[in-house]
Symmetry: C2
Subunit: 344 residues, 2 copies
């Protein structure tokens, strides 16, 4: 019998179609792993091609090197094909019954490494930490702009996940509205707190640590687990053990721990599913967060292994063919190589 499960934050149901259940090997297309290229002369994100992007907003670089020249390790620039404009007034207005606003906001690219062929799973931990620092620094800079209400950091990996440039990069988008989906989560968190007197994510954390069957890994500050109501096969969340509404307030020590578990989780997914396409989103409180201290930031990783269709579009109920308990077991059992350099 299939099972319906409810996401306790969003109240969305998912259908676990256990009878259709698949194993990790059904998704691991070995031919996805191809020899990597460390430099591509036409890639705007490769070392030496800095002039192919808009001028950098931030770079962590070797001492004495100049902006927009080689010497950087992580580099942030405006998106050349920005979905939103950095300048201008919101100018909210009605067009008869409808409601519009100027597309004011920010759309930035975090170039994670100068090496075209590296990826989070095969970087050194200190390099992953610098990517996270770039997320924090850009978040804190954009937060100063009172027109911006929400800032999302996300990453698309592979064409199937909407990625158009192979060079490893993440994106930061700041919108002049709080997205409905974010409101939904905030409302869920607040209602749970009213009802049970505790943060729902703290409660999830406690439950998953006690129960273990959906746990993937853990370090001092974070857990990685498969959510109870996973919408997609191998969906994975990284949740900080410390309740905090905004990721950009992490301490240096916590950034280190987050870098460690992020790298390890990406490596588990890479090895288990042969470099799958995925999206990850860093969910955090809206910018005006004085009244929103209830939120508990976390990272959601969604491998793109199945295609949502009419049923998901019409109902937002997802049909998931891999129970999260199975997914967690597969990911937990991945053997992490001790020598990082062997991983392509």
């Amino acid at each position: 019998m299939p099972q319906l499960r409810k996401d306790i934050v969003t109240r969305e149901w998912v259908i676990l179609a256990k009878e259709r259940a698949k194993r990790s090997s059904d998704f691991a297309q070995k031919d996805r792993i191809q020899p990597v290229q460390h430099f591509n002369a036409h890639c705007p994100f490769c070392l030496g091609n800095e002039s192919l992007t808009p001028p950098e907003l931030l770079a962590y670089r070797e001492r004495g090197t100049k902006p927009n020249t080689p010497g950087w390790r992580v580099r942030v620039t405006p998106n050349k094909f920005s979905a939103l404009d950095r300048e201008g007034e919101l100018n909210r207005k009605d067009i008869d019954i409808y409601d519009t606003m100027n597309g004011v906001g920010a759309h930035e690219v975090v170039i994670e490494t100068p090496d075209h062929g590296k990826s989070i799973h095969n970087m050194e931990e200190k390099d992953v930490e610098e990517i996270i620092w770039a997320y924090c620094d850009r978040y804190n800079a954009l937060r100063e702009d009172p027109r911006l209400k929400y800032i999302l950091v996300f990453k698309n990996h592979r064409e199937e996940a909407g990625c158009s440039l192979a060079h490893p990069h993440s994106q930061v988008v700041a919108t002049p509205v709080i997205p409905q989906k974010v409101w939904g989560k905030i409302k869920g968190v607040e209602q749970y707190k009213e009802y049970r007197g505790e943060c729902v994510y703290c409660h999830i954390l406690e439950h998953e640590l006690a129960n273990q069957e959906r746990m993937i890994s853990e370090n001092g500050g974070f857990i990685a687990c498969a959510p109870f109501a996973s919408r997609s096969p191998f969906e994975t969340w990284i949740i900080p053990k410390t309740h905090r509404s905004c990721f950009a307030k992490m301490s240096r020590f916590e950034v280190g721990e987050f870098g460690q578990i992020l790298r390890e989780t990406m490596l588990r997914l890479y090895l288990c599913l042969s470099d799958p396409p995925y999206n990850y989103t860093l969910l955090t409180a809206p910018c005006d967060s004085d009244m929103l201290d209830n939120f508990h930031w976390h990272l959601e990783i969604v491998p793109r292994l199945t295609t949502p269709a009419g049923f998901e579009i019409g109902t937002s109920i997802y049909i998931n063919i891999v129970p999260p308990e199975d997914a967690a077991k597969y990911l937990r059992e991945v053997e992490i190589p001790s020598n990082q350099t062997v991983i392509v």
Copy 2:
């Protein structure tokens, strides 16, 4: 400058990235149109292969022909790989902090034609009408079951839209819960009515008819238009001019009009975009609709021409690169051939 637009029902924003705007020809992959095959010996939905599906629940067939044999024009069977079970109790229960329920429901397949190579756009109108009658008949039959709270009719076309079998078919899924997405629309409709005293869809209808710039076509009972806050390029809605919460209460005359505009709209999309992948969903009131007479049923067609990525997943704000006014113009200007038989 990009523009933000709000869906007045769901309150979701979309970003119209006009600077990235594309034309219909950018999406029309001519090689998608291949010679059609009218019979496939391995296809479970082809004529003569009736034994390859579970026994039929409904068929419109020639007089004197027996169930589960040739002679049918439209045939409905349970889905062989059903996501939900037809039998059993709901047995809702808590697993510690989480909430679950047995996956009780229905999952049926509407085989639209015995001809493997036909499609709604090149059928005769009376054949399209029979598909709609099958939707109505199955809806009304499933509605008798008090365990079922919502019934969605939908169609997936092409692999990119999550379709696994090429033979033209739609699906009917009945769930034991009202999906959150449906609640969101119902709430939007109710709030609009409280605020403005009118049905939001009646208001949209009136506005689009007066304004014309997003209109695609019209007949006595329906309009086809591009919605103001289209989430995807060439999104198209078919809205009945008569306010009614449930599609399955249409009169015979209205079914005829709906069949006409559905066929014509699918033909416009086919010709304009070279047989694009799409999903359509028939949005209607929940089964217990006494208190939900406010709803106004309609059909939403979403061509799958771009890939939603991390930004859409994290925010549910879609970035659309084709303004609906342009999409409507392209679709409106398609020349509809007078002789139906020339269309493959």
